[in-house]
Subunit: 660 residues, 2 copies
């Protein structure tokens, strides 16, 4: 089922109003703002982080590079992976040039590439904390050092920047890094038979291989995946050999995390469940899917399927968020999906989108596109505010400012997006996803162009084929395609029918209704003539969703979905407490597009019942027969989940009580 690429995609221009808006935001607000922060020039509050307490620096990330390059004096500040904020920002900027050329920005990014080159050691090494403050400790504390993670993020940025601008130096830095890593890691005598505490280098080397076709990079990626977990004590042994105590940990407390936090408790092909730090899991999976495709390694492919199924079928929130606990920002166990103590890191949803994209490159299956869509419109997008200058690290499905303030088990749940974080992995990660969303719309397999997202676009392919997709998605379900095929090439045009519309959709080709069989969630339409129009009407009915009854947290509740969007109730629209509402099986929704609200959203109104809040003088407990619940008819107003927390600081709830 390996996807081949005989029918090349040349360019995709996003024409979707929804996504154009976000992508312009990246150019106009997000990139300038983040550059300012990383240069410590912003007047902002850093969300609570012990490392940053009492510091006046915003980030110091660019300064760290300048110090490493010998252009500034001082010490490293921040996490060992502080450099990656800059690299992910550079990657996002590179993507932005594809839809918004910007000579001023390009001067900055070219200079930044020069700075990175100067910061790089002659052997290719680059991790500023170690270069500046502990050169003797390079590669000696991989459990916590994030050195390969850090360089991996540069490699991704370098490849993207080279591909976007042709800047050869950007690619050279990446190749030198990869060769430095190749010279230091492996099973050959004298090399470190290990791997990084945080997966990333595997997917980065795969991208470098795809850009350069240098086999050694793919082999190195494959090595890291095969070696991981072979010696479960590797990290502990390294720490012991390095001889430093817990008081000198790079990241305090990390040595006490279990081995599966790092997916290093056993070889990854033997791991039965998606355990540990959620971002690490999905970055690892993305690397596995890349290398499985590029090498044909069936054991890795099997592991990809196992991880995918465990995450998607048993450990994912309806919004696509993953990570059920703040302790280790981690997965917990199957069907454990608490909504108010969860983690749901933005980076984990971004990583899940990466994983889905790579699975789709392996196999044309609608289920991968369904999850990709879920992340793009919900779990990942929730990480950024409508103004582009505020970010969530944690994305809960239920939030209450009183709880976040008053219950320490919920203190990690912010109810307003923050200006920035001490550990600032998420802001630039969601930025690079949005800036590259054009790369997520098509997959090509042999003689098939698979259009699996309903993000309006104009795409050009080899053989002068063009595809125009027009729609007002996600607000409207009418999807129109115009295919130009002037050379009358023979190919198939595949369209994913989303899982939320498979029971109710209409499809017509050249104006004529057709019934086509779904193959793995996809309809295939043969194209032979010079033009073809396709009209697809998706089911945009508001739907009450329930979870498997194995999920305790959602039992007796429903979530509201319309198209790909999961909806949330907010106290900005509804009287608190939000838990005092219930929907029922008679609830027929009305919808309305509100152009002035939250940059334009379709709101959902549902007939509901609620109880009035009892007096503080009422008994805390009383017989329900003497004091029945006084349900009153009301309306529950809901907005798309991604847009929550852009108004007043209040309660939010995705899951609603339900009476059947």
């Amino acid at each position: 089922m390996q996807v081949k690429t005989n029918l090349d995609l040349n360019q995709v221009e996003i024409t979707s109003d929804f996504w154009k808006h976000y992508r312009e935001l990246i150019v106009k607000e997000v990139l300038p703002y983040q550059w300012q922060v990383m240069n410590d020039e912003a007047d902002i509050n850093i969300a609570d982080d012990p490392q940053n307490n009492g510091q006046t620096k915003n980030s110091h990330a660019v300064a760290n590079l300048k110090i490493a390059a010998g252009k500034m004096k001082g010490h490293h500040f921040g996490f060992p992976f502080q450099d990656t904020d800059v690299y992910k920002w550079l990657e996002a900027a590179a993507y932005s040039f594809s839809y918004h050329p910007n000579p001023d920005l390009k001067k900055i990014t070219d200079n930044l590439v020069d700075l990175i080159a100067e910061a790089q050691d002659p052997d290719g090494y680059l991790s500023t904390e170690f270069q500046i403050d502990m050169p003797d400790r390079k590669f000696k504390r991989l459990q916590q050092s994030h050195e390969l993670y850090t360089m991996g993020h540069y490699i991704e940025a370098g490849v993207a920047y080279y591909q976007a601008t042709g800047n050869g130096k950007a690619l050279e830095i990446a190749e030198k890094m990869a060769d430095c890593i190749g010279a230091n890691f492996g099973l050959e005598p004298g090399k470190i038979p290990g791997y990084d505490g945080h997966p990333e280098i595997e997917l980065a080397l795969s991208r470098l291989y795809e850009a350069t076709h240098e086999e050694r990079f793919l082999k190195l990626a494959h090595y890291f995946l095969q070696q991981r977990g072979q010696d479960p004590a590797f990290f502990e042994k390294q720490l012991k050999a390095d001889g430093l105590g817990a008081d000198r940990d790079l990241i305090p407390g990390m040595r006490d995390f279990p081995r599966n936090y790092y997916q290093a408790a056993e070889p990854i092909v033997d791991q039965k469940t998606a355990d540990g730090h959620a971002v690490r899991v999905v970055y690892l999976c993305t690397g596995m899917a890349y290398v499985a495709r590029l090498t044909g390694d069936q054991a890795l492919l099997t592991a990809c399927h196992r991880f995918w199924n465990d995450i998607v079928k048993r450990r994912m929130y309806i919004t696509g968020n993953i990570g059920s606990t703040t302790t280790g920002e981690a997965f917990t166990y199957d069907y454990d999906l608490p909504n108010d103590t969860m983690y749901g890191e933005t980076c984990a949803s971004v990583g899940m989108a990466f994983f889905a994209r790579q699975m789709l490159n392996l196999e044309a299956k609608g289920e991968y596109s369904d999850i990709l869509e879920k992340e793009l419109f919900n779990g990942a997008l929730s990480g950024i505010s409508l103004d582009g200058k505020h970010f969530f690290y944690v994305n809960p499905l239920e939030a209450d400012p009183a709880a976040s303030k008053g219950n320490p088990g919920k203190s990690h749940i912010l109810t307003r997006r923050a200006d920035w974080f001490g550990c600032a992995c998420c802001p630039s990660n969601v930025a690079r996803l949005i800036a590259s969303v054009d790369q997520y719309l098509y997959a090509i397999e042999d003689d098939t162009i698979l259009s699996h997202q309903f993000i309006a676009n104009h795409a050009t392919f080899d053989q002068e084929i063009t595809v125009d997709q027009t729609n007002n998605f996600p607000w409207d379900g009418a999807i129109h395609y115009e295919i130009q095929n002037p050379n009358r090439s023979n190919f198939k045009f595949g369209i994913r029918i989303p899982n939320w519309s498979q029971n109710n959709y209409q499809l017509s080709v050249n104006g004529e209704a057709i019934k086509a069989q779904l193959v793995n969630g996809i309809v295939y339409i043969p194209v032979t003539g010079p033009t073809l129009t396709i009209d697809l009407t998706l089911d945009m009915q508001v739907t009450l969703m329930r979870s498997s009854n194995r999920v305790e947290a959602d039992f007796g509740k429903v979530a509201v979905q319309r198209g790909p969007l999961v909806y949330a109730a907010e106290s900005a629209d509804n009287q608190t407490p939000l838990w005092a509402y219930r929907l029922n099986n008679q609830s027929v929704a009305t919808t309305q597009f509100e152009s002035q609200l939250l940059d334009g959203v379709t709101i959902v109104k549902l007939p509901a019942q609620k109880v009035a809040v009892e007096s503080e003088n009422a008994e805390l407990y009383q017989p329900i027969q003497q004091a029945p619940m006084n349900w009153e008819a009301t309306t529950l107003t809901m907005v798309p989940y991604y847009a929550w927390a852009n108004r007043e600081n209040g309660q939010m709830a995705v899951w609603q009580h339900y009476q059947d």
Copy 2:
């Protein structure tokens, strides 16, 4: 409304089968077992505690005293308050002599008193960690040292032992301690203007005052209550003055706790809400109620009422458990009562019983007795297993072994009682409560004998008055009293009508039904003749209870109560998952006494509905209209909450979904 004690109670013999059983357990199992553990002679597992990791010692508590007494060599082991385990055990043993004289045990306890006397410094000081390992640090780190808490627990034990056995040395040790503390603490020049991090000394000094009538002990107790929180920075200043860093903390991490953890953020009479460590709060409140009664301090009385109301009306679980978070074993905020991440420490329920008893000595109000009963039959009693050798520290209202193992936010919730703990405050605390339960049955006010608990007993009073209460409570609601009054004294006999029966009870005096007005939940029956019989029939109907709709965690759910007992569903009786059941407003319960089950309990069976667990291959999320919940009729079987976790290791739930 101060209660006077002109009508003295002489002796109470518990005749209740239920409580006799527990009290014999204390003598036969609990006291021998705990003595063995504290002497490091038991083959047991210590529940996970960082301080005890890898240690072979059970407790070392007696050894610490021997080392301090110079009878053994070695270092102190355990928490700074390790001594208190011994003292609370001694106190429990003292109480046991009142119903089970035991010469063998008395030899041990007399010797123990001798050992404690030898361990005590000439000036009265006794805290073995400081005596053995850091004599220079005495009273210098009160935030964490627990020195006054430790001596307070001895004072309680010494008073009890003296009262039970007449052992004068036991009382002398206590008086020397109190005088040592009085010599070191106060606002006079040269004294420490401070107080202990953990309240306890206030209530202990009050007890010592009541035993000795020495005003200086009461004044010292009053001083501690008035001084607490006057200088909110007192603890930090002391730590700073002592000059030791965080790495030398007596209890790691404790310096970072907020000031209200210790109820030291402001003067206690100014504190608006019951914040911080729950055990500290209720011990402080107990001390306040004692001193308010003994001194007439109205500000303290007002504070008692404010704390009582905040706890009972807004921060207490239906089982009487308190402490909504494991972080700091603390209260959180009003109506925040999560059932599966809570703390509900056994010691906090024991302390709440102390507080209720003292409030009852201040004011004859049924609400105090209601809560006392709630603790005795539910929240506190849950802390000990039916075999007397296993204990809960944390008492959840919902538990699942999979969650405790798989979700770090629930790892503090044990689903089996432990052999012992590194911090072993709870086992001996519940033991001393059960062994002294005879002291909780009556309050005397002027010319009134108030019988406020339905624990069968035979009591003798001054003027040759005797009261026999007979019943089969808590299984049966028929309560019979025989009062003998040979001297024809004129007095009133007050009986609390519990809040759970106030809408439905029958009362007859000498066989004649009467209607009596409730005054603060109490009926008062005049006694003039030589004999009087009273028959009270309480409402033992199974009742579905709901919480205030301000409590999110219980919204849409009910708890099952019968008499004073809150019931729990366990997987030993019901198919899992327990969350897949729901009760409804038609559910009519049947009850049955099962003599062979859980040492004899009345079980409750309720018609219910449940859904069959879905396949692991089912969709994690699907439209509820396409996949409605398939409710099936079933029966939910429930057992008293106190008896849970005495069978298989499984799920437990107090709150059940409810359909109205």
